[in-house]
Amino acid sequence: MDIELRGISKRFGPVQANQDINLEIRAGEVLGLLGENGAGKSTLMNILSGLYSADTGEILIDGSPAIFTGPGDSIANGIGMVHQHFMLVPVFSVVENVILGVEPTSGVDYLDLEAARAQVQEINTRYGMEVPTDALIEDLPVGIQQRVEILKVLFRSADVLILDEPTAVLTPQEVEEFFTIVRALRDAGKGIVFITHKLHEILEIADRVSVLRQGQIVGQGDPASFSEADLAEMMVGRPVSFSVGRAESTSGDTVLELAGVSLFDAAQDARLVDINLSVHGGEVVGIAGVQGNGQTELVEAITGLSAVTTGEIGFAGQDITRASVRQRHRMGVAHIPEDRHKSGMVGNFTVAENMVLNSYYDESVTSGVQIDWRRVHARAAAACLSYDVRTPSVFLGAGSLSGGNQQKMVVARELERDVRLIVASQPTRGVDVGSIEYIHRQLIACRDRGNAVLIISSELDEILDLSDRIYVMFEGRIAATFDNRGGGADRNAIGLAMAGVSQGTNPGAGRSGNRGSAA
């Protein structure tokens, strides 16, 4: 089944989300759709999946015009969407999740589970997905859950699959397995739209690529004819330098030291187990790992949001194990939280208010019990300028900024003051390439000023790009450590460590007396 989008335009108020877009999705082909956040990818795919209707333009399916008035229409036309956030019921089995909503019944309302199971199993084996069909979703790893999502759309007889940022939650190994499945689907004649902002993935999997910028297609063609730099330039609209080109680090005194830190949650489950790590002034340390392996807890322990159960945390020679969030903040711990919407900012507050979110009580912006908003506004305006936060006014609601500008606002707030340690958790999640580049530069600049930088990211590329040393976390432990000065760390070895495959620590990483080794 071939789909052609012809002259699609869509406007939301003053924002032209899509403008005159022409796109072809062909059977047996992977179309890579590349674009920054806010470039119009989501709008376009929502039009294709029937959630929105285009202002102008038409959708042709095998040459004849189709009109979608709702998601049901696109499913009926063989278009299936796999969302970035899974929509699965954890306590249901794979089969139950797959058939949810389209349950095959016989008689009045008898659920024919056997017929369904056979059908699901057939799809499962045809594409080599190796999903245990009777397992409960909650027992399955993320990579398998994603395959269940794909099973769902295939079960609904989809000929065209839209995969929205499918690799964001996967380890490098899982990505490879995932690509195998995608290729199998393609070879079986399915049309696939692969949405991503990761350039190397496009180069690896896509048969054709279309680049979207500011609602328009700015380039398409055979990926082989483009380099990463070409694609990035098309995507951002200006030359982007990929690697931040960090200079050799000049490591100084130990700024952060965790010794034997363990953390148990309320249910007495171990979230962190015997963590020993150190971060020195003038170096970037990266924490790699698949999400949910203790990174969140590690950040909370360091910033004071969670009390550790055992162990000690030292900061610039002082014991801060029992220090409060504010004490640590005052001592010079900056914290870029992993999810800005959940904790890093308040969307309904103005940019200025967000700029003092965690320092509003500081003498520098208060007089007595009152906040001196004039000073706050002036400071916010200055920070917006020096950190490239693009907003028409500091009085604008932060929620109306783009993701990149929101994150830059958070970064500006944290880096603008005198700090010794920057804990940056997923610092570029949901951020456009231009802003990623900018934020990376700021973090490196911070390092070059002699500060300690700890980066926690599930994007291995980000870790490899920025870090001088790398710790890999798996199931709450430091599974391995790597030296990455000069970019020497073995990507494959890190990937295996992320997946929990026992592995030796590469030599040189133990420089700072680190005992972290195989998990």
Partner: protein
């Protein structure tokens, strides 16, 4: 802290000046605060009229009833006095509820806080004797305020310590307060002499809020609580939007995750916000006793604590919005009375219209759909300014 950020005046760059131009959002907030409630009121009156027609009230009676409502709420000095008198406790309790909303707490307990505050104020008003009005009246009001604060703080403490949801605990505290009132009003040191029904002794003259329009007409009930209400609006505005504590409240309410991130202690914030909310409700109760009723009786709060929830919602938890919403509700109450007298339309109609207004305000999208021209986004720099 970066030194250059504090520099101002001639050194400021044009870019920075542009960033500091305020009031980008003020038009939409103006819409939220004024146009939306007005449109909601119009719709409520429309549906109110339809309901009256459905119950076979003659069209001229319906028109007459709306005129009576206008007349009874703003048509005379008496009407205005009644409107303001009714608005005072609604605004005060509404401010407390709105503040709690801002801090992410749903305080259903304003009624109970009014009851205990008013009861305590009543007791202080006749048990304490021999003081001048300058000492006695403030004492009585402060007692109401303090007891209301303590009572609400119980719900706050329960939430902070055990996670008990404040909606449940404040509802339960409401029930307790009502029974407590009945019980206390029968105690010999409180109960009015010679009465066997629950009713308190009268408030001493030194504890009465003076009626401020008495020089015009003895029937004008408007009392000095008006000034307390206006002061409270200003104080709560300052607290929410100027003070450190208010900023902490607002972060906690908007995004608990961000509050935790910012090192704000959730438990303390909850207790403080509830206590302030309770203080305002308790003050409202004390003012009713001292300024309007002259004694405590069962049900003296007359559901004002519940109406105040609607006032806070209608006012979008903004002190100025709450002031306006409280005045509107006061006007509906005073006007509703006239509506019944002049047109013989049941007082229940007012309750229906109040509820309809709330529904429309709670469903702003609906109102926007019905009146698209009022809410259409015009390009910036249009003919209107905030």
């Amino acid at each position: 802290m970066s030194g250059e950020a504090r520099s101002s005046g001639p050194a400021m760059s044009p870019d920075m000046k542009a960033l500091l131009v305020p009031a980008i959002d003020s038009r939409s907030s103006w819409r939220e605060l004024f146009i939306l409630p007005l449109a909601a009121m119009f719709l409520a009156m429309l549906i109110g009229a339809l309901i009256m027609m459905a119950t076979s009230v003659a069209p001229e009676t319906i028109l007459q009833s709306f005129i009576a409502m206008a007349h009874g709420s703003v048509g005379s000095i008496h009407a205005i006095s009644e409107t303001l008198t009714a608005a005072i406790p609604l605004v005060l309790a509404g401010l407390g509820i709105g503040l709690a909303f801002r801090a992410g707490l749903f305080n259903i307990g304003a009624e109970g806080q009014m009851v205990v505050g008013g009861l305590a104020a009543a007791i202080a008003s006749f048990l304490v004797t021999g003081l001048s009005i300058w000492l006695h009246l403030p004492l009585v009001l402060l007692v109401g305020l303090a007891i209301g604060a303590v009572y609400a703080a119980i719900a706050g403490l329960l939430k902070a310590a055990t996670g008990a949801h404040e909606v449940i605990s404040t509802i339960m505290l409401n029930l307790i307060s009502i029974r407590l009132l009945d019980y206390m009003l029968r105690q010999p040191f409180i109960q009015k002499e010679g009465r066997s029904d629950p009713i308190s002794k009268a408030v001493l003259e030194t504890a009465e809020l003076p009626r401020i329009l008495e020089f015009l007409d003895g029937n004008l009930r408007l009392h000095a609580g008006l000034f307390i209400m206006l002061a409270a609006v200003a104080v709560i505005y300052w607290l929410l939007f100027r003070s450190k504590l208010g900023f902490a409240f607002r972060i906690s309410g908007e995004n608990p995750g961000a509050a935790r991130y910012a090192g704000i202690r959730a438990g303390l914030t909850i207790v403080m916000a509830m206590a302030i909310a309770g203080a305002l409700a308790g003050l409202a109760g004390a003012i009713q006793v001292s300024g309007v009723l002259g004694r405590a009786t069962p049900g003296f709060t007359a559901g004002i604590g519940f109406d105040a929830i609607a006032v806070a919602l209608l006012g979008r938890s903004h002190p100025v919005g709450i002031l306006l919403a409280g005045l509107l509700f006061g006007a509906l109450e005073a006007g509703g009375r006239q509506m019944q007298v002049d047109a013989g339309v049941s007082i229940d109609m007012i309750g229906i219209m109040q509820a309809l207004i709330i529904i429309f305000v709670a469903a702003p999208l609906l109102v926007r759909r019905i009146f698209p021209p009022l809410f259409r986004e015009r390009p910036r720099g249009g003919e209107e300014n905030g």
